[in-house]
């Protein structure tokens, strides 16, 4: 393992077999998603705002095989895993966080409130009616 840059570009068959990263959804409408990977040993999980990984953030280092991301704001995020030595790199995964609109959220809220109050009225009035 030389670690030379051309050998760690995504898509090279040898690396793709050793380090493989995937996300459970490409678009997260509630700000949460799961990243899962296959690796022979400990990994470093990196996140960046661009696929070039010019300034990556390390968000996990360890031996587990997945990580849940949640509470994320709108935007595009790119992920990759590397082995502990940093010589091997996986494929790059893109996840877009795109929350529902507030208009949609409050529409559902109002609908739910209507059903709830109507059910309360049904039970309340029905319980008071003499059979």
């Amino acid at each position: 393992m030389t670690g030379a840059l051309p050998l760690v570009l995504p898509g090279t068959p040898a690396q793709a077999q050793e380090l493989r990263l995937e996300a459970d959804t490409p678009v997260a409408t509630a700000g949460f998603y799961q990243l899962k990977w296959q690796a022979p040993g400990p990994v470093v999980l990196e996140e960046d705002d661009s696929p070039s990984f010019a300034s990556p953030r390390i968000i996990y280092r360890g031996v587990d095989a997945a990580r849940v991301m949640s509470g994320q704001r709108d935007g595009e995020r790119y992920y990759r895993i590397k082995d502990e030595g940093g010589s091997l790199s996986s494929n790059i995964v893109k996840v877009t966080v795109q929350h529902h609109s507030l208009a949609r959220a409050f529409s559902f809220f109002s609908l739910g409130a209507t059903v709830f109050v109507s059910t309360l009225l049904l039970i309340g009035l029905g319980a008071r009616t003499r059979d």
């Binding site: 990580r67 559902f108 059903v115």
Partner: protein, 483 residues
């Protein structure tokens, strides 16, 4: 695939705890069930359950593995509103209180929720309802079997399939031995263990980690969890409330309790149970927000509860969590096994296959069905297809579609069969479409809304004139319980 390679307890400790509690539950099951020879004793504890046991069993049954594991999952995914929204599941218990009272009065010899739907709306509505109810029961059983496997794997590293198998085998075993008396008796003990465990863990989470530290870390790493205008969590609020209402209104788990309580106990038992239950998911959910502060990696969202507790409390805490969640699982699995077996025995076995079955035949059939349900659950748990919350909320569209058919059926003479049937079918279909196209956090809400519209429209256009005395059917296989 096993995702955790850093479990806090050793497999040998895990197996020891499981073995000790398994012996305890099975022994209690045998002890309490040794006089349950009559059908009413085996399936409804003789219809004489008092307030203390009644409250404990209602609360303990509603504190499922989902409360202790899915509630933290929802908090991790949906944040503050997710945590508070989960506690709205208590509303279902409060709202069922007047229903429990009415059910006991209108159906003194009733056995199942299926009996009610059959008498109220006829055979076709009854079959649609049975499909929904059995589907939901199976989904709930699978969620709990999965939770057992996930919990044990998260805390001890024992492979998922082993833990899941042990949990299911033990619960089937003591439910089989003791019937409904064993279910209610063990519920009381399990309720005490659950409440104690949750209080201890919450206090330690606040004192050891600190609210300020939790807040700072979440704001930095997962900011939307603190956003009170996070759209998905706003949509989740009434979805979870209506899901809980639907679960309780239709499920034979709760109807069987209503039939088993002494007269006058149901209303108070359900109200008290709701009050006792409501804080538990808030406490359980809160600890999930400590994930960023502890720099803990959570591989799957439904593992966050036990992982956080173990991280905060160390080995002792992990043992405490294992005992507490094992109790929660057991208290719900046994109730669900018992209630589902009653439903299948009464509504499928006797009503469809053997109308002349005696009480002894039905008691034997109940036992076989419990075993069969355990095996089927195991087969469905084995592939671990999804997370706990997503599985649970998949059933939401179906159960929420039964809210108005059940409630209107009990309180509104005009509610007719056409409205009930179209409500259940259309509510389920549209709810499931919304599950896939929008998210799991709207399926129950949509199902309930569509169902309500169908019941109202049909019943206003062609009102029925139902006679409530029709519901007081005497059961031919027994001498009938006290009126």
């Amino acid at each position: 695939m096993d995702l955790v390679n850093t479990a806090i307890l050793s497999p040998s400790i895990g197996w020891t705890i499981l073995a000790a509690f398994s012996v305890l539950w099975v022994a209690l099951g045998w002890y309490w069930g040794r006089h349950s020879d009559e059908l009413d004793d085996y399936v409804l504890a003789g219809r004489r359950v008092g307030l203390a046991l009644g409250t404990a069993t209602a609360m303990a049954t509603w504190v499922t593995s989902n409360t202790t594991m899915a509630a933290p999952q929802i908090a991790l995914q949906m944040g503050i509103w997710g945590m508070l929204g989960y506690s709205l599941g208590a509303v279902g218990l409060f709202m069922f209180a007047p229903l429990a009272s009415r059910i006991r009065r209108l159906m003194p010899s009733g056995y199942t929720s299926g009996d009610f739907i059959r008498l109220r709306y006829g055979v076709f509505a009854w079959r649609v309802f049975l499909l929904i109810s059995l589907f939901y029961s199976l989904g709930w059983l699978v969620s709990m079997g999965m939770a057992g496997g996930i919990l044990i794997h998260a805390l001890t590293g024992i492979p998922y399939h082993y833990g899941m198998t042990v949990i299911l085998a033990i619960c089937v075993g003591y439910t089989l031995l003791g019937g409904f008396r064993a279910v209610i008796g063990t519920d009381f003990i399990q309720a005490i263990l659950i409440l104690s465990g949750v209080v201890v863990i919450a206090i330690l989470a606040i004192t050891q980690v600190g609210v300020d530290r939790i807040h700072e870390a979440v704001s930095r790493e997962r900011p939307e969890l603190l956003n009170l205008l996070m759209p998905a969590s706003i949509m989740f609020l009434f979805n979870n409330l209506l899901f809980g209402v639907g679960e309780i209104f239709h499920s034979n788990v709760w109807w069987s309790r209503a039939f088993s309580f002494r007269r006058g106990v149901g209303f108070r038992a359900y109200t008290l149970a709701g009050l006792l239950w409501a804080p538990i998911p808030i406490v359980a959910g809160f600890i999930a927000l400590a994930v960023p502060a502890l720099d803990l990696n959570v591989p799957a969202a439904d593992m966050v509860g036990p992982m956080i507790a173990a991280e905060i409390l160390g080995t002792v805490g992990a043992v405490l969590v294992l005992i507490m969640v094992f109790s929660a699982l057991s208290s719900s699995l046994d109730s669900l096994l018992a209630a589902t077996s009653i439903l299948v025995v009464e509504d499928v076995y006797r009503r469809h296959l053997r109308p002349q079955a005696s009480a002894a035949d039905m008691r034997r059939a109940a036992a076989r069905i419990i075993v069969g349900l355990g095996v089927l659950t195991w087969l469905l748990c084995a592939p671990r297809l999804t997370t706990l919350a997503e599985l649970l909320y998949f059933t939401g569209a179906f159960v929420a579609s039964t809210i108005w058919p059940v409630a209107a059926g009990l309180f509104w003479k005009r509610a007719n069969a056409a409205g009930a049937v179209t409500g259940m079918i259309l509510g389920s279909v549209v709810g499931i479409i919304s599950y896939w196209t929008i998210g799991f956090y709207v399926a129950a809400l949509v199902g309930a809304a569509v169902s309500m519209a169908c019941v109202l429209a049909a019943s206003l256009l062609a009102p029925a004139r139902f006679e409530w005395t029709t519901l007081a059917e005497r059961h031919p296989a027994t001498s009938g319980g006290p009126a």
